[in-house]
Amino acid sequence: MVAAIVFWGLAVVAVAAGVAVFVVDSMARATYALAVSFIAVGALIILLQQSYLGVITILMMVMEMAVMAVYMVMFMGMNPALMPMDMTHGKKTAIGASTGVFVLLASGALLIPWPERRGVPPEDLTNALGLEIMGEKMLVMAVVGPVMVATIVAGVVLAAGRTRYDRLGDDLRRRPADDPQPGGIGR
């Protein structure tokens, strides 16, 4: 009974905060409305007794939103807080697509004959998750590693206005490096 009330309460918060993302007139509010929505989802996952996944969802999403907020603020086409704004684009297509997907998923959730649970969940879920990651799913990690390295390299290459040649000279020998902001390690 309590679980049901909490579930519905969190569900309403998650959806309402999600709606707020498109209603509010400030990028900061929109981003953190999304963060609230994710926190509610994380709490729902905790409610499903997946402690680790729920807590890590909250952790990651708050952190990503904190960083995303500054990007949203910086790259907005106009003032990010004091002008009326509209977060939607291509309204008709978007509304059509999202309604369609919602109907599909909701009817799927309601109509599919969900299987009965066989067996019991392991005693320590985090432990089981760790064994999975290091065991059969090791391949996942082996793939994720290079992908993350590539992400770092690609991200920095794309974002950098100045590269090591600007800093260290054409022969990479200039010491200290020439940087807009002096000081730090290897100055």
């Binding site: 402690s51 807590v55 952790l59 708050v62 952190m63 904190a66 730090g184």
Partner: protein
Amino acid sequence: MPETVLTTVPAGWAALAGIVLCTLAFFAAALDSALSARAEGAGRGGWLAPAWSTARLLRQRRRTVVAADTLLLRVGAAGMLVGSFLMVAVIPLGRWTLADLDVGVVWFNTVDVMVWALVWLAGWGANSVHGLVGGYRFLAHGLAYELPLMFALVAPAIAAGSLRVGDAAGAQDRLWFVVWMPVAFVIFLVGVTGFSVWGPFAAALGADVAGGVLAELSGVDRLVMQAGRYAFLAAGAAFSVPLFLGGGAGPFLPEWAWVAVKTVAVLAVLVWLRRKLPVFRPDRFLEIGWVVLLPAAVAQDLVVSLVVVWKG
């Protein structure tokens, strides 16, 4: 792996936990102003100064800046106090705990990440350049200290084979973790000062930006934000006890008393250091965090996991 039996106390004890946390926060503030008064040769304003400041802020009127985002500002300010309460919920006091989470360490990490959002929101919401610069400075610090802090948190978890805070405390019955993972302990304390916006990490509230995030806060808004900072500092110090300092282990005294003594000791060191260290400027600390602290923390984890594998 030694199993410790923690008793989860009824939720009603949260009131006591809250009072203990506020007492510790007050102790930190009192010690800080006593040290200030001594160093500055001030006639008045020693141990009781935080009480007087509280009275002053309760009497002072609140203010808002023109076109400020008041909602976000207040969420940021009050959120600091709420966050610190959430953090202490998983810290065992000797044998008792309020919430014996199987992912207690991750929970601590999650709450400390919330501070990113809170400080930035408080800085943004004020619609003032000083606050804005302060809020962004905090994120720059966060980028530098957060990953090393996470790896420092992992080290005790590896040794205990569990993310439960109680298990980490119980795994130290022979040797405290601080002895053989000193790097992780130091980086953990760096992280604590970081998310408390304290001392070297107070650039977000710095004198060079006229108080930064705090520049436009007055009255009870300022009170809750400042109280939240001290409470976070206290919570961080308390968390170092089960994680690195053997929990309630110690002779003569009962376990809860040892937890209290160790917490107060760590807290006192953190408060004392504030007056000694310069503020880490965000533009310089970014490199330190990534190039010095992060590899150090990873190396510490490597050592810890090798030791664990070798012994077990």
